[in-house]
């Protein structure tokens, strides 16, 4: 793979991969490491993409595996650090509107309270717009499992964000 091809791939998918891994791991350094590992893996073995119809899905799958590995490593190191990171991670773009900024912080916090497997499905469904079949492929789980995880996760978020959501309606 040439540098130009890798740059094009990076520019097309890096933001999505980074946001997914950041939401999953809730750790900036883990997200950066996973992003680097994914694109270096592709650079080392570009043939991996030869038969891939959906590069975004493939990259998200690689990133998911890297994020899970990083979370396991970190889990062994420190759980307190994870709890702190869950509160402080900046998942959404900055905005000058303070109300909107508060709303985004609350969404990020609500996502942080979900178990990682539900968080992954909610992220892929809401911010990647994937179908449950596609989510199942990315996460290597059955489609019904993806659907049920989404439902549970969304119910928790709805409950958590209901007052703020109704206020903003």
């Amino acid at each position: 793979m040439s540098p130009t091809e890798l740059e094009a791939l990076y520019d097309a998918h890096a933001d999505a991969v980074h946001a997914f891994v950041l939401n999953l791991s809730r750790d900036e350094s883990d997200a950066a490491d996973a992003l680097q590992e994914v694109f270096h893996e592709i650079a080392r073995r570009p043939a991996m993409l030869n038969d891939v119809r959906d590069p975004r899905g493939f990259l998200l799958r690689l990133a998911h595996n890297r994020a899970i590995d990083a979370m396991r490593r970190r889990d062994a190191r420190s759980r307190a650090h994870e709890a702190l990171a869950a509160e402080s991670v900046e998942l959404f773009a900055a905005t000058p509107d303070p109300d909107e900024a508060a709303w985004r912080r609350e969404i990020a916090a609500a996502l942080g309270e979900l178990p990682p497997d539900q968080r992954a499905v909610v992220h892929l469904k809401l911010w990647e717009g994937l179908t449950f079949d596609k989510i199942a492929e990315v996460l290597a789980i059955p489609p019904n499992t993806a659907a049920s995880r989404y439902r549970y996760g969304l119910d928790k978020m709805r409950e958590r964000l209901r007052p703020l959501f109704e206020e903003r309606q």
Binding site: M1, S2, P3, L6, E7, Y10, A14, D15, A16, V17, H18, A19, L22, A32, L35, Q36, F39, H40, A43, R44, P46, E90, L91, F92, A93, A94, W103, R104, I107, L126, W127, G129, T131, F132, P143, A147, L154, M157, R158, L161, F165, R168, Q169
Partner: protein, 153 residues
Amino acid sequence: MNESLDPFQTRLNRQPLRSAPSYLRRRILDSAPVERGGGAAARPALPWYASVPWSWAALGMVWGLAMLGTRVDHWLNGGSVVAPAVPAEQRALARLQREELFGANAAEWQAPAARRQKHGESAPLVEPPPRSERRRRPGDSPFASVADPSATV
């Protein structure tokens, strides 16, 4: 599975995610193992059999060197290998041991007949004839009595 989004999901979905930090782009792309200006980083891997002739050539070279060393050593030693001389006492001792060993073997071999005579046992009633005298006659079959019922009385 109903995959349409309700107002709550749509509200969440509209929140833009943060981009990857810009410093990561340079760091990741600069350190990526890609082919740069004809470099070898991303060169396609050779098939497994590409290295086989070289492996055999190297093995043959090692074998040739070993053979050459053996020849040179043989030539330096005058073309023959001389066994070290064995002292006469050792040779006499070895001969004596050999004779004792074969003598003991011979005594052991004859022991059953000698034991029978010693304990008053008689020889077997029917001695089997020597193998050279065992001739096969026509109809001399262990199944003859089965094949010909008249043979049994």
